[in-house]
Symmetry: C2
Subunit: 431 residues, 2 copies
């Protein structure tokens, strides 16, 4: 294709006519309006559909453009026409893939880049793909017993040694709770577990069921600090193996049972039902079933707590994250979460949104990840390192901009008056 | 009808066959099974559909029955066949009407009576009417601008002098917040207003819009204690007149504007949008519209708070309460409340359930109401006094048993990071 093809000029001119003001800088810094090649014009349209974030983009052919009214926060270099075309067809998926394989390079702050993109998308009501290949029908997600196992295996069985490099020593891989922003990650993960336990008002010798227990930190924390008995479920084989070994080392294997099984197979009774960071992998189609499981387990005066990444409005998970990082995942809205509790007539007594705590948690993880980069490179290829960096940076940005939320929902049975008079007990200073 | 009519015996015997155990006491205390008259048998079936609460019921003809396995908490006397038949057709409506006109009399604690009935109904999944006249299709509720005005007039324009007899001096007619159960009603209403203001993090010179302001207590509290400017809306003429006079007396008429208009007509911008105890009168059909109004008003870093009676599961309001006390009212579930915020992409940052505080608030109101009974009798007839007593007693029971909930939902715009780091500021002791 030649750059002076009149059809291409027309496309460029048309694109130029829409929402002119924020893109004025182009005129000064590169070819005059209407003189871009087709590829550059399409790139500019993509940036416009992203709400004209303050970015500079340079193509393989040297064409360069800056959008937004502020200084660009980062400079994106696109290495080839193929890479651009993929980006146009599925920007979410291919930005991730292109960044991972190096065909898209970023100079500047990756977190800030993702933040301006998320903010721009919210402004522009970004709808996914400019070219609408395949339309916007919701992605089909079937979290059956076996697909759930394979989805969970994909992410959580990457190797405990890898996660040990950048998680806290307790291996807590969910949003922390920072008593103050200056707290360390270690302190904040302990504080999160205590925050959850206080909300649940655990008493010695009570029985707790945990659905989706990760490497077992919360289960062991509850048993050792609150004197409860825990049955903790998880379908990640590596995590369960790690947790069992840890329980033996701590001498709590008599009080904490780690069970390699799906939440749908949970049975038995409990005083408290807790699930921290599993719901994202459950899917809204299974919410009522999860509620049924809780209803079957929870005692008359039992308490339940669900902690999950969420949304303000229903939306698919970022396509790249779902394809490469968390297959089968979907962050529900608070309203969708309530489909778990409403049919069983549980009373919601407290909801807290901790999204800024998750952003800060991720800042710590990303710092540790970068500090451990050489050791990660010894375990995985460069593509993996770059993908993981983007996942962490994008997640910081998503929580910082409100694209993602973090909800803790506490509930009891409707008939129970065993509820604290106020929430002040959560904020009492402890000796 | 004769009591020895064989068809009637059959009905009695059949009724006797269902769920025998809880009703054994009958046999000892009155006619043997199968020997009840038709009316008594039907009454027993009604009690069974209510989950066999521990009650004694005596009919006009002397037939008497006790249900439940515990001592009866109250003794209900039904004065006539007509009264019983009405009760069978529509128990909720006619228990209220019958108690109000004296054709149903209660010996014992009215609150305890209502509590055992609410608990029994929850156990038995009570479905309204035994005889299913007209079925269980949802009641039609149209809260148009004009019907809302007439519905609100019905309750809130009963006369300020009446409400003054039993509300606190600030005339707050919504759930209080008791820092401790021993607090006085006056203290608890002030504490509630402060709790709301702290959640909203009001700063001097900010602008607040209040939808449904009652007699104006919160609006004036916000203006005098938090230095904000308030525009407060209400369609109750008597309440608005009272509030304006109060604002003049306090010298805050320059900072608080009371506007006699519907929430649907609210316009203008604000830093905080608050609505305490109005949503019950809005109706779920209008939730999205209320959300649109809030979206149109709220600043970028604005905060919103909705305080409403609610439910764990969708259910019609008690038929008698809706017909005689609160026409057009419907307490939504938390999930239904979220239909106000989700379409506009507000972030819910905090939900608190205060139902036990509402039960205690109502205990105070009922005590004051009974203390003022003679003065109330000078204003209204006996039927009104009895109806009001039942409304207060039934409301205490509904909140104590979880038939009703009280939700405070706090939200901000998704894009706003102007949120407190934790909720501990709500529980800091003030100088």
């Amino acid at each position: 294709m030649k750059r002076d093809d009149p059809r291409l000029v027309a496309v460029g001119a048309k694109a130029e006519g829409i929402g002119r003001a924020p893109a004025q800088r182009d005129a000064k810094e590169s070819a005059p309006p209407g003189r871009f090649g087709l590829e550059a014009s399409l790139m500019r349209r993509l940036l416009r559909s992203l709400g004209d974030p303050p970015l500079r983009v340079t193509l393989w052919n040297g064409e360069s453009m800056a959008t937004g009214t502020e200084e660009p926060v980062a400079h994106i270099r696109i290495a080839s026409r193929v890479s651009l075309l993929k980006l146009l067809v599925n920007p979410e998926l291919h930005f991730g893939d292109g960044y991972s394989d190096g065909s898209i390079e970023v100079d500047g702050d990756l977190v800030k880049l993702m933040e301006v993109v998320y903010r721009g998308m919210a402004r522009a009501s970004f709808s996914g793909s400019m070219l609408r290949m395949g339309g916007r029908a919701g992605r089909r997600r079937t979290n059956t017993l076996s697909s759930s196992r394979s989805n969970i295996h994909h992410h959580y069985d990457l190797g405990n040694d890898f996660y040990r490099l950048w998680l806290d020593p307790e291996m807590v891989y969910t949003c922390a709770y920072f008593p103050a922003p200056e707290a360390t990650l270690e302190e904040a993960q302990i504080a999160k577990m205590d925050h959850v336990c206080r909300k649940l008002r655990l008493r010695p010798e009570e029985t707790v069921i945990e659905a989706g227990c990760g490497w077992g930190a919360l289960a062991m924390h509850m048993a050792t600090r609150y004197g409860v008995r825990v049955r903790a479920f998880n379908i990640s084989r590596e995590q369960i193996a790690y947790a069992r070994e840890r329980a033996r080392a701590l001498g709590v294997e008599g009080r904490v049972e780690f069970i390699e099984d799906d939440y749908r197979n949970i049975a038995g009774r409990c005083d408290a039902f807790v699930s921290v960071g599993m719901l994202e992998h459950v899917g809204v189609d299974n919410h009522e079933q999860l509620g049924r499981v809780i209803d079957a387990c929870l005692d008359r005066d039992g308490r339940g707590l669900l902690h999950s990444i969420g949304r303000d409005r229903p939306a698919e998970l970022n396509a790249w994250i779902e394809k490469r990082i968390f297959p089968g995942a979907y962050p529900p809205t608070l309203r969708q979460m309530l489909a778990i509790v409403e049919p069983w007539e549980f009373s919601v007594i407290d909801v807290e949104n901790l999204r800024l705590h998750y952003a800060l948690t991720l800042v710590h993880w990303m710092q540790r990840f970068e500090d451990a980069r050489e050791r990660v490179s010894g375990m995985y290829d460069e593509r993996f390192v770059r993908a993981w960096r983007l996942y962490l940076a994008g997640s910081i940005a998503a929580f910082n901009t409100g694209a993602l939320q973090l909800f803790q929902v506490l509930f009891v049975r409707r008939s129970s008056n065993e509820v604290p008079w106020s929430r002040s007990h959560l904020y009492d200073r402890r000796p």
